[in-house]
C-alpha cells in the first residue's frame, strides 16, 4: 500500500541501523513539564538522522482521509506512556492520557528520498494540549522550535511530473491552535478511530489499550479517493470533515460562519452549505450566492475558495499554497450530484 511506503522505509532504516544502540526512551518530563523545549531531540522521539529510527514506544499511524498540506508527505506517530490507557467516545474520538504525544513530520520525497522539513508535536499536559512546531536543520541532526513559524522555499514534483517551487509555511504556535481549536482549547484532529490506520505490526497492541464507549470502532472510514471504501457522498463528506471541519464546527475557529462540516453536518442542510448565503466572505464569495449551489459547482463559493491560492479567498486559510486539484475534483463531482430544489 502506498500509504505505508514511507513508513516502510523508516522501518527498513531502523533495521539497517540495528547495530547502533536503541534510541533512548522518551523523555516524559519534556512532554509533561510546562516549558517549551528548544530542540526536538529533547523529547528523544527519534534516534535520527532526521525523523528516522523512532523510539520503539512510538506507534506509527496514517489517516485514511488526510488533510491536504501542499502534497507534503506526513509521518505520524502517537506516544502513550507505558501502562496508561486511551478512551474513545461513542464516535470513536480518542482521548489520550496526560503524558501522551502526537508527532507529525512533514516533508517531501518517497521512501529513502524523504526529506523532513518540520515536525509538529501535540503534547498532552495536565492543563490540556500544547502545540509546538520544530524545523529541521540542514544536516538533519536536530529540529529547532519555531514558535513564530517560518517560510522555506521548497521545490516539489507534482503527480504529472512537473516540478514547482512553493513558499512552504511552517505554522506558528497560534496557527496550530487555529485549526486545533475547540471552544478555545487545543484538541487533536486526526485520531478518530474510523479514520486512523495503525501500522499493522502495532495495531492489535494499540487497540487493546483503548477503552471503547460502545463496541470497538474499526478503521474502515471512507478513503477520499478510493471508491471501494464509500459512496461519493461519504467520501466527499469525509474529505470536508478532515479538511474543513476542524474550523467549520460550532465550537471551532469558524463557528461564526454558520457553515458546519463536522460529523453532525446534515442535521441542517443550510449549515452544510446548501443554498447557504455568505456572511463574512467578502471577495471570497467570488460573486456567487451560495456556499453550495446543488448541481452547480462552478457557481458554488466552496469550489471558488478551495480552487484559489489567494489569501483572503483561499480555504483553508492556512496550510496550503497550492490547490489540491484532486480534492477539488471530488467536491466538484459531489456538488454536481446534488439535486437542485
Amino acid at each position: 500500500m502506498k500509504r505505508w511506503g514511507v513508513l516502510g522505509a523508516v522501518a527498513a532504516a531502523a533495521l539497517l541501523a540495528g547495530a547502533l544502540p536503541d534510541p533512548a526512551s522518551v523523555n516524559d518530563s519534556a512532554i509533561i513539564e510546562p516549558a517549551f523545549p528548544r530542540k526536538l531531540s529533547e523529547f528523544r522521539f527519534f534516534a535520527g538522522p532526521g525523523a528516522t529510527r523512532p523510539t520503539p514506544a512510538l506507534v506509527a499511524y496514517s489517516l485514511r482521509t488526510p488533510l491536504f498540506s501542499d502534497y507534503a508527505e506526513k509521518q505520524r506517530f502517537v506516544y502513550v506512556p507505558d501502562g496508561e490507557r486511551i478512551s474513545a467516545d461513542g464516535r470513536g474520538r480518542l482521548a489520550f492520557p496526560v503524558g501522551s504525544a502526537l508527532i507529525k513530520t512533514f516533508g517531501y520525497g518517497n521512501g529513502k528520498a524523504f526529506r523532513p522539513i518540520e515536525t509538529r508535536v501535540l503534547l498532552r499536559r495536565a492543563n490540556g494540549w500544547e502545540a509546538l512546531p520544530y524545523v529541521w536543520n540542514a544536516d538533519l541532526s536536530d529540529a529547532d522550535l519555531k514558535v513564530a513559524g517560518t517560510r522555506l522555499p521548497v521545490t516539489l514534483t507534482l503527480s504529472d511530473g512537473t516540478s514547482t517551487q512553493i513558499s512552504y509555511a511552517v505554522p506558528n504556535k497560534n496557527q496550530c491552535k487555529e485549526c486545533h481549536s475547540s471552544s478555545g482549547n487545543i484538541v487533536p484532529i486526526g485520531p478518530i478511530a474510523a479514520n486512523m490506520e495503525i501500522a499493522p505490526t502495532s495495531a492489535a497492541a494499540f487497540r487493546a489499550r483503548i477503552d471503547w464507549a460502545g463496541s470497538p470502532i474499526r478503521a474502515d472510514g471512507p478513503v477520499w479517493n478510493d471508491p471501494a471504501t464509500g459512496s461519493l457522498d461519504q467520501r466527499a463528506r469525509a474529505y470536508l470533515m478532515v479538511n474543513c471541519a476542524h474550523c467549520h464546527n460550532p465550537t471551532g475557529s469558524a463557528s461564526n460562519s454558520g457553515l458546519f462540516l463536522d460529523a453532525d453536518a446534515g442535521s441542517s442542510r443550510t449549515a452544510l452549505g446548501i443554498y447557504k448565503r455568505p456572511v463574512a466572505a467578502g471577495r471570497g464569495s467570488g460573486g456567487h450566492e451560495f456556499a453550495i449551489e446543488p448541481g452547480q459547482p462552478a457557481r458554488s463559493i466552496m469550489i471558488h475558495r478551495m480552487a484559489s491560492t489567494e489569501p483572503g479567498v483561499a480555504m483553508p486559510e492556512v496550510g496550503r499554497s497550492l490547490v489540491h486539484e484532486e480534492g477539488v475534483a471530488l467536491i466538484r463531482q459531489w456538488i454536481s450530484s446534488l439535486p437542485a430544489d
Partner: protein, 401 residues
C-alpha cells in the same frame, strides 16, 4: 531569625501567586519583522505591552495574538504601520482570540482579507487605529476593517477605516458594544452592527461610503435576533461611493447613497444624527428580503424610534429598484425616511422627525418592490429614546484614558 524566615516565606508565596510582573516587549520595524513580532505576540504574558516601533512592518503572513491581557501599542496610526501588501496567507492581517486585549496607536494597511479580526475575544479595546486599503475602494480589497465577532464588551474608539469592500467597522454576533468617535469612509458599509445585542454607535463620521451605518440581522447563524441598538450623534453625510462589494454578500444589496439602514432588528433608536447628501435615503427600515430556511429567524423590523435628526438634501439619486419611479411620484426626490411597512401598526415604527416618511405598504419582507403600495405616512407614536446607555467595564475605559 525564625520569624524573618517566615516573612520571606510568605513573600515568596505571594510572588508565586502573582503573574510575573508586566513587561514591555519592544519590537522594531525592519528585517525579520514577521517572525520577531509574531514571536513577541506568542511569548507575551498577561499584563505585558507589545510596543511597536516607528516605521513600516512588512509582513508576509497573518499575525495572531492568543494571550489574554496583552496590550499592543504603536507610536501612532501614521507612525507604526503593519503593511500586509506582501501577505502570502491567512484570512486576516491580525487575529486576536484572547480576552482583555487592548489594540492602540498603529495602522494596518492592505491586508488581503480582513484587517483586524477579534473572535471570541471579550473586553476588547480598539483605540486610535487606522485601517486602510491604500488603493482606494476596490472589489479586491479585504472585507472588514475592524472585525470583532462572538465577543462580549467591545469598545471601538477613535479609529479610522478606509476602503473595506464590505464594512469598515463590523461588529458581528456580539453583545455590549460601543463604536464611537470614529471615522469610516470609502467603504461599502461604513459601520455595521450585525446579529448583535446592545450597541451604542455614536459621535462617528460616516461619509463617502456606499451606506453609512447598517444595523442588520441575518438567518442561519449561531447568534441572531439583533436588538437594542442606538445610533445617535453621528454625522452621516455624502455616502455616495458606488457599491463595490463582491456579489453574493448582503452589503452588495445596499443602495448607493444610504444613510442608516436597519434590517430585521428590533428595538432600534436613531436620534440626534446629522444627515446630508445621501442620494438614496437617510434612514431605511426594511426586512430581510431573501429566501431563507430558518424557523428561528425573524425577518421583519419591530420597535424603531426615530427622533431629533437633522435631514439635509437626500433622495435625489435613489439607487434601488423602483427608486426613480418613487422619486417621480413624490415630487422629484425620495422621502428621507423609508419603511417597508411590514407588520403595520404592530411593528411600532415611530418617527418624530419633521420630514416626510415613505411607507412602502408591504405585507411581507420579501415582497417584490413592484407590488408595493407606497404612500406618504406619519409614523406617530412615542419616538423618544428609552434604551439604556451602554457601559463598558471600567478597566476598558481606563485603558485609553
Amino acid at each position: 531569625m525564625k520569624r524573618n524566615f517566615a516573612v520571606s516565606g510568605s513573600l515568596l508565596l505571594t510572588a508565586l501567586a502573582m503573574p510575573a510582573s508586566a513587561k514591555d516587549m519592544a519590537v522594531a520595524a525592519g528585517a525579520g519583522a514577521q517572525e520577531r513580532l509574531q514571536e513577541a505576540l506568542i511569548l507575551a504574558e498577561p499584563g505585558d505591552v507589545v510596543t511597536l516601533g516607528e516605521g513600516r512592518f512588512e509582513l508576509t503572513d497573518g499575525l495572531s495574538l492568543d494571550v489574554a491581557g496583552v496590550t499592543v501599542r504603536g507610536a501612532g496610526p501614521d507612525k507604526s504601520v503593519l503593511s500586509f501588501k506582501g501577505q502570502l496567507a491567512a484570512g486576516e492581517g491580525l487575529l486576536v482570540t484572547s480576552d482583555n486585549v487592548v489594540l492602540r496607536d498603529f495602522a494596518v494597511e492592505d491586508s488581503k482579507g480582513d484587517a483586524i479580526k477579534s473572535k471570541g475575544a471579550d473586553n476588547i479595546v480598539y483605540h486610535n487605529i487606522r485601517v486602510e486599503w491604500t488603493g482606494g475602494p476596490k472589489e479586491t480589497n479585504g472585507a472588514y476593517g475592524i472585525y470583532p465577532v462572538e465577543s462580549q464588551n467591545v469598545l471601538i474608539d477613535s479609529v479610522l477605516v478606509i476602503g473595506a469592500s464590505d464594512a469598515g467597522i463590523y461588529v458581528g454576533q456580539s453583545r455590549n458594544i460601543i463604536v464611537r468617535d470614529s471615522v469610516a469612509r470609502f467603504n461599502v458599509a461604513g459601520i455595521e452592527i450585525e446579529n448583535s445585542f446592545d450597541a451604542d454607535v455614536h459621535d462617528n463620521v460616516a461619509t463617502k461610503n456606499t451606506g453609512g451605518i447598517l444595523v442588520f440581522d441575518l438567518p442561519n447563524l449561531p447568534q441572531q435576533g439583533g436588538h437594542n441598538v442606538r445610533v445617535f450623534d453621528n454625522l452621516v453625510v455624502e455616502n455616495d461611493t458606488p457599491n463595490f462589494a463582491p456579489k453574493g454578500n448582503i452589503v452588495a444589496s445596499v443602495p448607493t447613497g444610504t444613510g442608516v439602514m436597519v434590517m430585521a432588528n428590533r428595538d432600534i433608536e436613531i436620534f440626534d444624527n446629522v444627515f446630508d447628501g445621501n442620494g438614496s435615503s437617510n434612514i431605511m427600515i426594511i426586512g430581510y428580503r431573501q429566501k431563507f430556511d430558518d424557523a428561528k429567524y425573524q425577518p421583519m423590523v419591530r420597535n424603531v424610534r426615530i427622533s431629533d435628526n437633522a435631514h439635509g438634501k437626500t433622495g435625489f439619486a435613489p439607487r434601488f429598484d423602483g427608486g426613480e419611479m418613487l422619486a417621480a411620484a413624490f415630487g422629484g426626490t425620495v422621502p428621507p425616511i423609508i419603511w417597508d411597512g411590514v407588520g403595520g401598526a404592530d411593528a411600532n415604527v415611530y418617527s418624530s422627525d419633521d420630514v416626510p416618511v415613505l411607507n412602502l405598504g408591504m405585507t411581507k419582507s420579501d415582497q417584490p418592490i413592484d407590488t408595493a403600495q407606497p404612500a406618504l405616512a406619519k409614523l406617530a407614536g412615542d419616538a423618544a429614546p428609552k434604551l439604556p446607555k451602554i457601559v463598558m467595564p471600567e478597566a476598558m475605559e481606563a485603558a485609553i484614558r
